[in-house]
């Protein structure tokens, strides 16, 4: 790890002010620190946002669940309020990595990082979330731009994410056997006016699978997907799963997810 200046941000303003050309926000550090240790990245300034008060906590209203950016996966998984409002979201958080990762890793860090095989981005899309930042509010559909790429500006801090409460929903993750990130993760949410099927792990960035959504819009049952063949020309292919196999996993995960929706 190369040397850097460490800043402990007291509040959002403080964090934004401290950011520079070669700075990074530090939240759970589960991605940032390993990449610095491996010398894949280095910074002049590292700004710790994990302890900022305004970035903590979970608020539930009748329509939405709002989670502070510095809330850990473990906190989300353990929250009775989340479990009651959106059980699939609590399930998702509880399946991320291992206990150490969940005790450190945070929602804000996860979506700001936008790993193509991370779980939370699919929740943001499927639950039609709004990302609150130090500057503005961004619709989830406009937030995830590409592989490790988001709509965030250099000095823009994610402060919270507001998830809409669906009628029913389910997240089915097929983990990469080695890393246990999502080789494919499918988040199906049935909202009052539409069905969203968000897929992570399968392409460069999280996306809505329109083919599945169309079938489910007509008939919300796993059988409605029986004869579907997904186009896999855009899918990732690596030593763990070819594009063709990933496509078949997306389908079977979607079917399981629909079956889980009550």
């Amino acid at each position: 790890m190369k040397q850097f200046n460490f800043h402990e941000a007291k509040n959002v303003k403080d964090a934004v002010k401290a950011s520079s050309k070669k700075s990074a926000f530090l939240s759970g550090g589960q991605t940032l620190i390993p990449s610095m240790k491996l010398r894949l990245s280095s910074f002049d300034d590292v700004i710790n946002v994990k302890n900022i008060k305004d970035l903590q906590g979970i608020k539930v209203s009748s329509k939405s669940v709002t989670i502070g950016a510095a809330t850990t996966h473990a906190e989300v998984a353990a929250s009775k309020d989340v479990k009651k409002a959106i059980p699939s979201l609590s399930h998702l958080a509880g399946m991320i990595g291992d206990a150490q990762v969940r005790n450190k890793g945070t929602l804000g860090g996860s979506i700001a990082n936008n790993d193509p095989s991370a779980c939370y981005p699919s929740a943001c899309i499927a639950l039609d979330a709004t990302v609150h930042t130090s500057d503005r509010k961004i619709e989830a559909s406009k937030f995830f731009k590409g592989m490790f790429e988001t709509a965030l500006k250099k000095d823009e801090l994610v402060t919270a994410v507001e998830f809409k409460i669906p009628e029913s929903s389910s997240y089915v993750k097929i983990p990469n056997p080695a890393s246990r990130y999502a080789m494919v993760g499918v988040y199906v949410a049935k909202h009052k006016k539409d069905v969203i099927c968000a897929v992570t792990g399968a392409q460069a960035v999280v996306y809505r699978c329109k083919e599945i959504e169309k079938e489910l819009g007509n008939n919300f049952s796993s059988d409605s997907l029986n004869n579907l063949n997904l186009d896999y020309s855009e899918m990732n292919s690596d030593i763990h799963a070819s594009a063709e196999y990933r496509a078949s996993l997306v389908l079977s995960a979607a079917q399981k997810a629909v079956a889980n929706c009550k």
């Binding site: 790890m1 080695a178 890393s179 030593i239 070819s242 078949s248 996993l249 079977s252």
Partner: protein, 788 residues
């Protein structure tokens, strides 16, 4: 004590983070080293520019292969000579510890940067400019013999073309067979993945000319011998190797690596301690890997199911160079074992060992025996199916039934009862109820399969005369020294090394039983060439059978001396003294001395004015005995394993639903430790079957060089293992033990794969990943459609 589940004495320090590993050691004035490694699988080194790096902040020196050669430090060696079938010796390329002209795998050692801090060493490493001319790499085992030679003068990349067995007799068996069953078998490449990566610290004392190397070794004495005699690093009597707590090895830490040689040399050259600690990806690239065979096998079968012949044709990948035990692993640790525990009267095994531009391949848990077992157990399964026989019955029909049994290849098996453990396993696994469970799985939309595996291994490595006649560079006896302290507690020195095996406990149990001293008063000392006598380290499930036997022999000598001393003190004859439960007794009297009293007496405790010695006249004082033990034969653990898997046909994912093993390890000293060894072995074997694969792409880049891509099995991949034993004591050592360290890794890959193949009804190679299984099912379906 022997046979009881004594809690491991060493666990407290390990579980509370108090272990002392090489990386935990910090010496005064220590410097830090980083290796520059080749990013190319094969390249010529046109030049190395170290000028910039040498000037960087904190840099002490940058050393290259030229410096090493200038100091006349020798290269690494292959320690076991194999002779090809045409009578020529194996061909091994020069293997300098730092490359001079060419690099032969990604991770090969090119230069060493030494600085005041690790940070500065890493920064400076970025400034070393190596000018490579990249050459076309040979990355694939199967292609090696048809590719350009990677080492000058080694035609076809062939190290040796070795054979074992009677070819004519085998041909005869095949020509008179009722059925010939053939099979292509791939044994995948694995990375050992010890929990603790390798590390070395060199320390040179210029006033005494003593060189010390702290290193992660399973075998410190042999490392010192090799580094003294072959690398000409430092004379043995001035060279100390300390292998403190070592966090696992699985074979990958048996022998000295380039890093050991270079770090010890650098410390001497710079006259300063030099520390190097391997990082995980560095470990993936530069630790020796395991397995990597491609085999064509065939069995000749009579219509009644008797197997009459076995033919094996193997290409074994050695990687870029021949590592220390690399040549024996695919030959004498493999060939003789391909017979399994079957009475096959004729066999022939041909092994061609090839060089490729990949990390060297050497012994890894089981070394040769897992490859042999995988082969015979997969083909026995296939043969049974093709003969239309029950796979369990087919195996039983061909078991060796009488002991001792001279196999047609090499081994003379002293003891065993193969029906006993196989029947017990069938019972424990409820083979009779399998069809019902299969139907239950089918009702859930799942495919269920059952797989058998029986195995035999040759452990207790090894009778010196036997192995030296087969090409070993040293005999493989073991040593022990029992040193009583005057207050009656004991230090036991062993030439074996514990890096997870629990010797501190098992060996103490033996000594406790033999000498009647409580376990807590016995300290097992290993891993320091300055402390104990020369020994041969730990691998090949040898430590108990050979090292434990040496300890047992040394205990006998202690008792013998004790009897003489007791006789003198009790005014009896030595031959009349009985030793039992730590007491020397004159039978039919109340006269006795405890072991502690005798030990105390041996150190001649003086009382002012007393002149009578407790020792017989002329006897040397002190109570310390050394023994060397050279086994009369290998030991032959055997067992039967049964695996049931359940497969989700929609994803191809395999779940190991039940796993049963019944092993015959001879006598068990500590059943809890044995169980731990089985668990670990099974985890690695099931890992090989379903998850692990070291994958090089065609340019020779290791694609799976971190845990993001190399899949290690986790606890949640396994069911609760059902474990039981049978026992036929070994006759080749005084403890009657056979060895249990490798069995799990040897037996389980074929058990799992036979179950997977049974479930899906078509072939698939290891690791049977979800996608491979999914694809195999898909291909089978479309083939069936085509046929219909």
């Amino acid at each position: 004590m022997i046979g009881s589940k004594v809690e491991r004495k060493e666990d407290k320090k390990f579980l509370t983070g108090k272990g002392r590993y090489t990386a935990d050691i910090t010496l005064h004035n220590q410097s830090y080293a980083v290796f520059i490694r080749s990013p190319h699988a094969r390249a010529k080194i046109k030049g190395i520019d170290t000028a910039k790096a040498k000037k960087a902040s904190g840099v002490i020196d940058v050393l290259t292969g030229k410096d090493l050669a200038d100091d006349k430090i020798g290269g690494l060696i292959a320690g076991w000579k194999i002779v090809s079938k045409d009578g020529t010796d194996m061909k091994c390329p020069a293997h300098p510890a730092l490359a001079t002209d060419t690099v032969n795998y990604v991770g090969d050692h090119v230069a060493l940067v030494i600085a005041e801090s690790l940070q500065e060493a890493k920064d400076a490493a970025d400034l070393v400019n190596v000018d490579y001319k990249v050459l076309k790499a040979v990355a694939n085992t199967g292609d090696a013999m048809n590719a350009e030679a990677i080492h000058e003068g080694i035609d076809k990349n062939l190290c040796f073309d070795w054979e074992l067995g009677d070819k004519a007799k085998v041909d005869e068996a095949f020509s008179s067979a009722d059925k010939v069953v053939e099979m292509d078998i791939v044994n995948n490449r694995l990375v050992p993945n010890a929990m603790e990566p390798r590390a070395s610290i060199g320390d040179y004392n210029s006033s005494s000319d003593e060189l010390t190397l702290y290193t992660t070794s399973q075998n410190p004495h042999l490392s010192r011998l090799v580094m003294s005699a072959f690398n000409a690093l430092h004379p043995e009597h001035k060279f100390r190797i300390v292998a403190p707590d070592v966090g696992g090895g699985f074979g990958s830490k048996i022998y000295p690596y380039s890093e050991d040689v270079v770090i010890a040399w650098a410390a001497k050259r710079l006259q300063r301690p030099v520390k190097w600690v391997c990082e995980r990806t560095e470990s993936f690239l530069s630790d020796c890997h395991g397995r990597d065979h491609i085999t064509k096998a065939a069995v000749a079968v009579k219509s009644d199911g008797t197997v009459t012949g076995l033919k094996v044709d193997t290409i074994a990948n050695l990687g870029g160079y021949a590592s220390l035990f690399a040549t024996v692993t695919p030959t004498y640790l493999y060939g003789p074992l391909v017979l399994g525990l079957y009475n096959i009267p004729a066999a022939y095994c041909n092994v061609k060992a090839v060089y490729t531009n990949t990390a060297p391949v050497d012994a890894y848990r089981g070394a040769g025996r897992p490859e042999a077992t995988y082969l015979i157990e997969r083909i026995m399964d296939k043969a049974a199916k093709e003969m239309g026989m029950d796979r369990a019955e087919f195996r039983k029909k061909n078991f060796i039934k009488q002991f001792p049994h001279q196999q047609c290849l090499v081994h003379n098996i002293d003891s065993g009862d193969y029906d006993a453990h196989f029947d017990k396993a069938l019972n424990l696994a409820d083979y009779a109820g399998f069809e019902k469970r299969k139907a239950e799985s089918a009702a859930k939309g799942k495919l269920r399969g059952i797989g058998f595996s029986t195995y035999i291994e040759a452990c207790g490595i090894a009778p010196s005369a036997a192995v030296m006649s087969l090409g070993a560079g040293v005999g493989l006896w073991e040593s022990a020294e029992i040193r009583f302290n005057p207050t009656g507690n004991i230090s036991v020195f062993t030439g074996t090394h514990s890096h997870g095996q629990g010797h501190d406990t098992t060996f103490a149990q033996i000594v406790s039983d033999k000498l009647g001293v409580p376990v807590e008063n016995i300290e097992i000392v290993h891993g320091d060439t300055d402390k104990g006598p020369f020994g041969m380290g730990t691998y090949g499930s040898r430590s108990l059978a050979v090292g434990g036997s040496a300890i047992s022999k040394a205990c006998d000598k202690i008792v013998e001396k004790g009897k003489a001393v007791a006789a003198n003190m009790l005014e009896a004859k030595p031959e009349d003294i009985e030793f039992k439960d730590g007491e020397f007794i004159v039978p039919n009297t109340n006269k006795k001395k405890t072991m502690g009293e005798i030990a105390f007496a041996c150190y001649l405790p003086g009382t002012y004015g007393e002149i009578k010695s407790p020792l017989p006249e002329g006897m040397e004082p002190g109570l310390k005995e050394t023994a060397f033990y050279d086994p009369v034969n290998f030991s032959f653990p055997a067992g039967s394993h049964i695996c049931e898997v359940e497969i989700d046909p929609t994803t191809g994912e395999t779940k190991v639903d039940t796993y049963t093993c019944v092993d015959d390890f001879g006598n068990l000293i500590n059943p809890m430790i044995v169980e731990g060894q089985i668990h670990g072995g099974l985890a690695q074997g099931i890992g090989q079957a379903l998850y692990e694969n070291a994958y090089y792409d065609e340019t020779g880049q290791l694609v799976t060089a971190s845990y993001m891509d190399y899949c290690m099995p986790r606890a949640d991949n396994f069911p609760e293992f059902r474990i039981d034993y049978t026992c036929t004591p070994a006759t080749s050592n005084p403890l009657g033990v056979k060895g249990c360290g490798e069995a799990g890794a040897i037996a389980s890959p074929p058990a799992v794969m036979n179950a997977v193949v049974d479930a899906i009804g078509t072939e698939v190679t290891m690791p049977a990943t979800a996608e491979k299984v999914w694809r195999a099912l898909k291909d089978k379906k479309s083939a069936q459609k085509k046929a219909a």
